[in-house]
Amino acid sequence: MSEKVLMKGNEALAEAAIMAGCRHYFGYPITPQTEVAAYMSKRLPKIEGGVFLQAESEVAAINMVMGVASTGKRVMTSSSSPGISLKSEGISYIAGCDLPALIVNVQRGGPGLGGIQPSQSDYTQATKGPGHGDFRLIVLAPASVQEMVDMTVKGFDLADKYQMPVMLLSDGTMGQMMEPVSLDISEVKTYEKPWAVTGTKGERKPNIVNSLYLKPDELEKVNFERYERYAKIEKEEALWEEYKMEDAEVCIVAFGVAARVSQNAIDRAREKGIKVGMIRPITLWPFPKEALKKASEKVNKFISVELNMGQMIDDIRLAIECKKEVLLCNRTGGMIPTVENVLSKIDEAIEGGRK
């Protein structure tokens, strides 16, 4: 075991990106993720080949990301909710060009300028693909500073493996809190990128990075092929963690900070003998449908704990084919559900079950 260091989530993810081989960062200041840029501006210029650039806009930043991604190098940007909306155009192009990139969203409350406190209200935007057209992002949802590190490394790997943009969907809590982390990153995989624009060097035909297909049958074919890749991802890459699910009668589904609160609530409920457990999606897309479907055969009820008006709840219902009732325990606008909020929802689930 390597030594642990105490780090803020935003800084830990930035360091993890560097350890994963990312040498290019482009961003624009926005609360509550500015530490990522600040950290990169300090570290990257001191590393060989390191480039930190503060762009003139979120729009420019994501397009600079696209430029580096086109050359086959690992690259990232980070922002918070309003900034991700601005990046959506570029994310669509990156997906349409089949380029790997890591996009971090340290979510804050919305809509509009919203607030600067933690939120999960970009769940739908992230999991359904921010931007126009048929595409997906792999969405990773860390629930600790350690996972901010691990998911960053994994995010770069998945992006390269599947040639697509990956989003680390964090929130203000994960970004701002400090926890001990191990930065012992065992293995960084590298991938061949014969499609990258690196100059032909007179040795090959030109490479073209492009998302334009004016012939509809060609565009359809490209989209079909991309969705075959997505199907493979749905089959092979879903990640989740189960907590006290062995004998659970009520299943909480929560990710990120909501999962941490829920875990405390579960421990408290268990003290009273209530059989409640949790499935914590770690990948929000692909969504751990099979795990939920399996759980639906055993539990009586589900509770979706979210920091939004109930966005993931629809995916839960789809996953369990509406076979069991799903209650919503939510706070929004930057508010975080308390353990008591979750406990009273557990009570409601149990009471309702007795009727």
Partner: protein, 247 residues
């Protein structure tokens, strides 16, 4: 038999899709010739815009990236910063560069980004069928200014070279035209210099090329050249607007 005329190696064999009389073909050739003559075609990476020249990626015989509307300078920034040995250029029209992409244009110049920007100004949105552009002349009739551009209501055209000449980060700005042999030669020299600046690490160069759009101007190719000379050249005077390398 002596070879007296050849296609530059910097162009592919693809047949250009441009309308008859459109000057994009000339400008493509000048860019390709410049890359060839400077010996950098095989380390060049071009960034295509949205607009008539969107298919530039099929025509330049080098690595290419197709960017979102107006974002080419930001994409080019990424490509260049990834490896400074790349010779990176954008090829953009007036709607792309001077309207939706104004911020990317101004800020890549302000950063002194070591790239070459080829800016084709034909005073109209060609690809979408001839709408009013940021460079459409006062009084000019287009699909979305059917009574002529009314400067009282929609304001004045943007003069890109003049504007960027006030940006400290810009190195070299020149406006050229491709309306006759003499000017084509001058345009070639300017484009070549813009690439040479990049090779020598001198920073941001932008060459604005006054161009025709016979189709959307509703003029025969020869008349379009005349219209460019009589209307565009007085409003957009040719010349060097900034040259830090001469200072």
């Amino acid at each position: 038999m002596a070879v007296v005329f050849e296609k530059p190696k910097g162009l592919t064999d693809a047949v250009l899709h441009y309308c008859p009389g459109c000057t994009h073909g000339i400008i493509h050739r000048l860019v390709a010739e410049a890359l060839d003559e400077l010996g950098v075609t095989d380390r060049a990476i071009g960034v295509a815009p949205v607009g008539c020249s969107v298919f530039a990626y099929n025509y330049f015989n080098c690595d290419m990236v197709q960017a979102a509307h107006g974002r080419a300078p930001a994409v080019a920034t990424g490509v260049k910063r990834s490896d400074p040995n790349n010779i990176v250029f954008t090829y953009q029209g007036d709607g792309d560069l001077a309207a939706i992409g104004t911020a990317e244009t101004v800020h890549s110049a302000a950063r002194g980004e070591n790239i070459t920007v080829i800016f084709v100004n034909n005073a109209i949105y060609g690809m979408t069928g001839g709408q009013m552009a940021p460079t459409t002349l006062p009084g000019q009739v287009t699909q979305t200014s059917p009574y002529g551009r009314d400067v009282e209501k929609v304001g004045y055209p943007v003069k890109v070279c003049e504007m960027l000449s006030q940006v400290d980060g810009a190195t070299y700005l020149e406006r050229v035209a491709v309306n006759n042999v003499k000017n084509v030669k001058a345009a070639k020299a300017a484009i070549k210099k813009a690439f040479k600046n990049q090779i020598e690490g001198k920073g941001f160069s932008l060459i604005e090329v006054l161009s025709t759009c016979p189709t959307n101007w509703g003029l025969a190719p020869t008349k379009a050249i005349e219209w460019l000379e009589e209307n565009m050249m007085p409003y957009y005077p040719l010349g060097v607007y900034k040259d830090k390398t001469a200072e």
